[in-house]
């Protein structure tokens, strides 16, 4: 059996997105900046895509700026807000310890430019606390950037409350909604969001397209200079087929959000319930406040890369936050921010589902993961020490009993 359970990394193109893109690649090849008829066709298509994205975000079309990816949108929002703040003598930035590297590494670069960064802690459940944010905001705070939902552990941050607090305190609020878009409701007005980043390929649109929403009234300056595209704020000929496919995929995801969340959430819960039966396993991140599709676990006594490759051999595509899979010496900063020790964080597994996954696939995962975990543990010297303390840990786990 083949199971793709790495939808938080990227998703397959939806039939709707594929059809839209295919047609656009063939027929809408004009440059939206051209005055002739092909240019006008392209320009109209771009306008339509912008209106669609705006509609489902609760924004105005002129507040949408298409980008090359979510990372670009994050870089843009942070660099713009920091530099705009600096002009007013504000050189303090607030974010969280579990942000995506697109945010964290941009913040590190800004730190080198002389900005001061406060990263809010997340505690064991992977969620920031409003009182911490309240205490961290200073008169010289230029920006608060907190992700809507985490990509590794799926935890959902209280963005509406954060937005409200920032608005009251007169601080700009940006949210990296890359993992949330298409899966959780977004209304930039109701949630008091000033800036928001989205990436298409997390909701069945193609790779290489994203957007930045920036509230009207904020005088956004460009990150990329050149032509007059995107109202002079983001130069470069628009990737129209990708933009159109993103709009089509986003509309579809938002229209089906409720039913997808129920369907995927049920599969997620079945997976969590099943994997929790494995001895010395733990769910990472809050159980309730999490994305419908994300299941994240740590299994003691084993290492994540081995787990992933063994699962891959069994036909299951998943991911891990272990050091060996990240190419660095440390396991994922998100797992460490939860307070997990290195030795446990090394044994992490993320299974991320979407509406294309089936119950049969979940059953297959539940059959394979306990076996692979057990095989690797039996190979591990750490497991021997654990067994000395807790003999027969598999007594209550019949699923893992058959080799």
């Amino acid at each position: 059996m083949f199971v793709y359970a790495d939808n938080a990394a990227t998703t397959a193109l939806s039939p709707t997105a594929l059809r839209t893109m295919d047609a656009a690649l063939q027929d809408v090849y004009g440059n939206p900046s051209s005055l002739h008829r092909m240019g006008r066709v392209a320009s109209a298509a771009l306008k339509g895509a912008r209106e669609t994205m705006a509609k489902y975000l609760g924004a105005k079309p002129e507040e949408i700026y298409f980008t090359g990816c979510g990372t670009e949108a994050d870089n843009w929002a942070l660099r713009f807000a920091a530099h705009a703040g600096a002009k007013a003598g504000k050189r303090h930035l607030i974010s969280s310890a579990i942000e995506h590297h697109a945010v964290l590494h941009t913040l590190s670069a800004l730190e080198k430019e002389g900005f001061e960064v406060t990263l809010l802690p997340v505690y064991g459940n992977g969620i920031v606390r409003l009182e911490d944010l309240e205490a961290a905001i200073r008169p010289d705070t230029a920006l608060v950037s907190i992700m809507y939902a985490n990509n590794e552990i799926g935890t959902i941050q209280p963005v509406a409350e954060i937005g409200k607090l920032c608005r009251e305190r007169g601080v700009l609020f940006h949210t990296d909604a890359v993992q949330a878009a298409g899966h959780l409701p977004i209304n930039v007005v109701e949630q008091n969001i000033d800036m928001l980043s989205i990436s298409g390929h997390k909701f069945h649109a193609p790779k290489g397209v994203g957007l930045l929403y920036c509230r009207k009234g904020i005088r956004l300056t460009p990150l990329i200079y050149g032509g007059a595209q995107e109202r002079g704020k983001r130069a470069g000929t628009e990737a129209l087929p990708s933009i159109m496919a993103m709009a089509a995929a986003f509309a579809e995801s938002c229209e089906n959000m409720k039913s997808s969340a129920e369907q995927v959430g049920r599969l997620r819960d079945k997976l969590i319930d099943g994997l929790e039966k494995i001895p010395f396993s733990r769910l990472t991140g809050d159980r309730e406040k999490r994305l419908p599709g994300i299941v994240s676990f740590c299994f003691e006594g084993i290492e994540g890369e081995s787990l992933l490759l063994r699962l891959d051999m069994a036909g299951i595509c998943a991911s891990s936050g272990s050091a060996c899979t990240s190419g660095s010496l440390d396991p994922s900063h998100v797992l460490l921010a939860l307070g997990l020790p290195h030795e446990i964080a090394h044994g992490s597994l993320r299974l991320s589902l979407c509406e294309y996954n089936t119950e049969e696939e979940v059953d297959y995962i539940l059959e394979q993961v306990p076996q692979v975990v057990r095989t690797l543990r039996e190979m591990s010297p750490v497991w021997g020490h654990m067994m000395e303390k807790y003999p027969n840990p598999y007594a209550d786990c019949p699923a893992a009993g058959n080799d």
């Binding site: 006594g301 084993i302 290492e303 994540g304 890369e305 081995s306 490759l309 063994r310 051999m313 272990s322 050091a323 060996c324 899979t325 990240s326 190419g327 010496l329 396991p331 020790p341 290195h342 030795e343 090394h346 039996e378 190979m379 591990s380 010297p381 750490v382 497991w383 021997g384």
Partner: protein
Amino acid sequence: MAMDYSEKVMEHFAHPHNVGVIEDADGVGEVGNAKCGDIMKMYLKIRDGVIEDVKFQTFGCASAIATSSMATDLIKGKPVEDALKLTNQAVVEALDGLPAVKVHCSVLAEQAIKAALADYYKRQGIENEELNACLACGAEHDHGAEDEA
């Protein structure tokens, strides 16, 4: 990050040789630590100066498991003197190479064997200064494979 493992590495990872414990081992060595994500433990059964049997237990990534498997293969049935000369580079070569960031796994495998041999000598009441010096230099130690991987 996607790893470029050779077929040989994947073969030894999927079906590792010599996994397990030797209860009445003549030498046992353990190197690495869980914090770094790699631990290797080697067990040796030695008779008349020959490594009659060898088993390993490894906590770690695919290359940690594959290098343990290959290193134990390379010394099984060999005289102790040969095992002492095993280098991490020989393990890397036998596996048709390792990604550069994974070469340290082969160093760990070499060290685990040396640690087990040191334990064997200690139990025999023999001081092997060369071996002790080799182990004392820690995880930084390798025999030049890093540059060639």
